[in-house]
Symmetry: C2
Subunit: 402 residues, 2 copies
């Protein structure tokens, strides 16, 4: 009998009606002859509400105590879903991460799963029960409650799927799959039926918010197929799977974009071996995440460095970079918060030269100026003016017949 | 260093302001040189809210899943209180019952504590931390989450106090102690400074809702002093302690009353040895709680039985008793939901004859008719007309100079 792991997010657990809807889907999957394990998030809004309660008491809640309060959200969800499934005549049992043994390290608020004890889960499955497990949370070997950070429930679901050797992990969400581009910008964008793990990683890292990066990494590493689909319809979604021969025949799988970027430039930095390392070391020490980096020589002795950061870190990053600029005697430091990133992604690029030049030509035809470029073998990321991004995405979508 | 266990109920944890108020009390106790363990209930209203969520999903939630959802309320409280105490500069750590090891049997919704592991608590106390433990809940040896039922947090606090050999258990509530009578009825009622365990048991069983019966039983059995006091003031409350010589010098400690009583009478039941056992067996089988029972012979061959039940079980109890009445060929069955119970309590009665007659005379002087009487060596309970109860309580309070 196949084991299917299903994961439902907060919007799917928002109220009694939603919970019953999820219960129906679960029961249907069970009655098709599968063993079903369900991983759920806290009801929509509850995590924010709990954080708010904590902040009313203290500005800086301790990581441990924050995990203690946050973990209650999923505990409420698992209990309600178990009740709803029993109400429909199937047996079900809910488990916290402590009860199952989802062992993590002790990094509160961003713990990593180390191992999962499958004994209790398999025992309940063998008894014919639907097993419902709290996502997003774990427990250390000392029984400390931890949480996994953003996207944690997706990661829980994949990790549980891997541990149980499930046939696949179904991730139910409020979209019905991964699209070739944002349908709000490209009316002709369509849902992909398949995407490779590597492509999904690039998409997830480039603005397609449907799946969290960590869960895709984990699935890729363990060859665990993910079926991303809508919790509000029964249509097939997008399968995230191992790359196969067919996939390479498609040159570009999709176009992703983000607009919450800002660019910072440090012009004419004296070129010493220490300088560049020093600059990015200082930025990292201040916990600012740098995305795309480019550097060009101005002349033999100096270079210009540009990098992008997320828009909400822009002010802090600019102020910091100005300080660093003085230190390394850069000629000037300036920034621009009105940039966007457009990413062209596809495993087919690996074996086909000339994709980048087609991208550049296509953007040039649209008078879209490319500010920075960064490439990997399956991803071309272009930083452009924010006002250009819709034109750029549309043009590329058309150019590659997506 | 003394260990003090403090218990705060839901109204003390209702919002951030309340939580900070509790934190201040805890920190003050700690800074007086005590080791402090705090047991808390769910924020006021939260348990009802969680029950409501469950009932929206199913009419009859399973006991296990109900405990799963209910246990989250206290987990929220412990986390918030730990944060608030840390914010004030003292170290604190919160524990669920699973983390500490508050082991119960597996009777969901009404579990009994079997043992408490003190290792983790003592370790944290030795590290100078305030230890905060979720009340009302426990865990079975199989890591199943249980709850203790009504008044559970008081019971948790006393059990933890006993396990830790605490100096005393302070129960903070919204009244400032146990009164000689309900102050809303008897303006001259005053707060007792001391009351014996036995007297408190009788008071708690007779309508004084300040402490739950099970917690007093547990404290009595283990000689653990309880200090019942207000969470909104700093005044000394009432000590519930071992009976001592001084106590017997007071004839009557207090007068308690309840008005949510109803009386059922089964008149002229043929007197066979089976009948009486059969009647109360049937009532018990239908889960109706009987309080005071009296029976009188009508003649050699038949007797009249009266008993009281709580008002909300009156309709069901009356219908049931009418059925039983037909079966045992009682002459008639009738009821009265307009009765009250007034209880006169004091360990001094044990050694002083004539208290009952003083009670009867005092009530007769007020034209209060006594419908039923039941006595123990420290308690005289009178069932009277509901409209008479205020006059009765006031008269007895005066008669015995309380």
């Amino acid at each position: 009998m196949n084991i299917i792991v299903q994961k439902y997010g907060g919007t799917s657990m928002a109220d009694a009606k939603c919970v019953k809807n999820v219960a129906e889907k679960v029961v249907r999957t069970k009655r098709k002859g599968n063993k079903v394990v369900v991983v759920v998030s806290a009801p929509a809004g509850m995590t924010d509400e709990l954080v708010k309660r904590a902040r009313e008491v203290t500005e800086k809640p301790s990581g441990r105590e924050l995990d203690m309060i946050l973990a209650t959200g999923e505990q409420i969800s698992i209990s309600l879903l178990a009740m709803a499934i029993k109400e429909m005549g199937e047996d079900a049992i809910s488990f916290t991460s402590t009860q199952v043994g989802i062992i993590t390290d002790d990094n509160h608020n961003k713990a990593k799963i180390e191992s999962i004890n499958t004994e209790k889960i398999n025992g309940a499955l063998d008894d014919g029960k639907v097993v419902i497990i709290a996502g997003f949370q774990g427990v250390t070997r000392d029984f400390e409650i931890t949480t996994l950070g953003r996207g944690g429930s997706d990661t829980s679901a994949v990790a549980i799927g891997v541990a149980l050797k499930a046939k696949e992990v179904e991730i139910y969400t409020d979209v019905d799959g991964v699209y070739t581009a944002d349908p709000r910008i490209v009316p002709g964008a369509h849902k992909m039926s398949k995407i490779s793990f590597d492509e999904m990683l690039e998409m997830a890292g480039s603005g397609a918010k449907v799946l969290h990066l960590r869960s895709v990494e984990l699935a890729a590493k363990n060859h665990m197929p993910i079926h991303l689909r809508s919790s509000f319809t029964d249509t097939i979604g997008t399968y995230v799977v191992e790359e196969d021969k067919d996939m390479e025949q498609v040159l570009v799988r999709g176009v992703a974009h983000t607009t919450n970027n800002a660019k910072i430039t440090m012009a004419s930095v004296p070129h010493t071996s220490q300088n560049i390392a020093y600059i990015f070391d200082e930025i990292a020490k201040n916990h600012i995440n740098v995305d795309v980096i480019t550097q060009n020589y101005v002349n033999k002795n100096s270079l210009t460095i540009s990098f992008t950061v997320s828009e909400d870190e822009y002010d802090a990053a600019l102020a910091l970079t100005q300080k660093i600029g003085e230190k390394v005697q850069a000629k000037s430091v300036f920034g621009n918060s009105e940039v966007a990133k457009v990413c062209i992604i596809g495993v087919g690029m690996k074996s086909t030269p000339g994709v980048a030049s087609r991208v550049f030509k296509c953007l040039a035809d649209q008078d879209v100026e490319i500010d920075m470029v960064s490439t990997s073998d399956i991803n071309i990321s272009c930083i452009i003016k924010q006002s250009d991004y819709q034109r750029a995405v549309l043009a590329i979508h058309t150019e590659f017949n997506l």
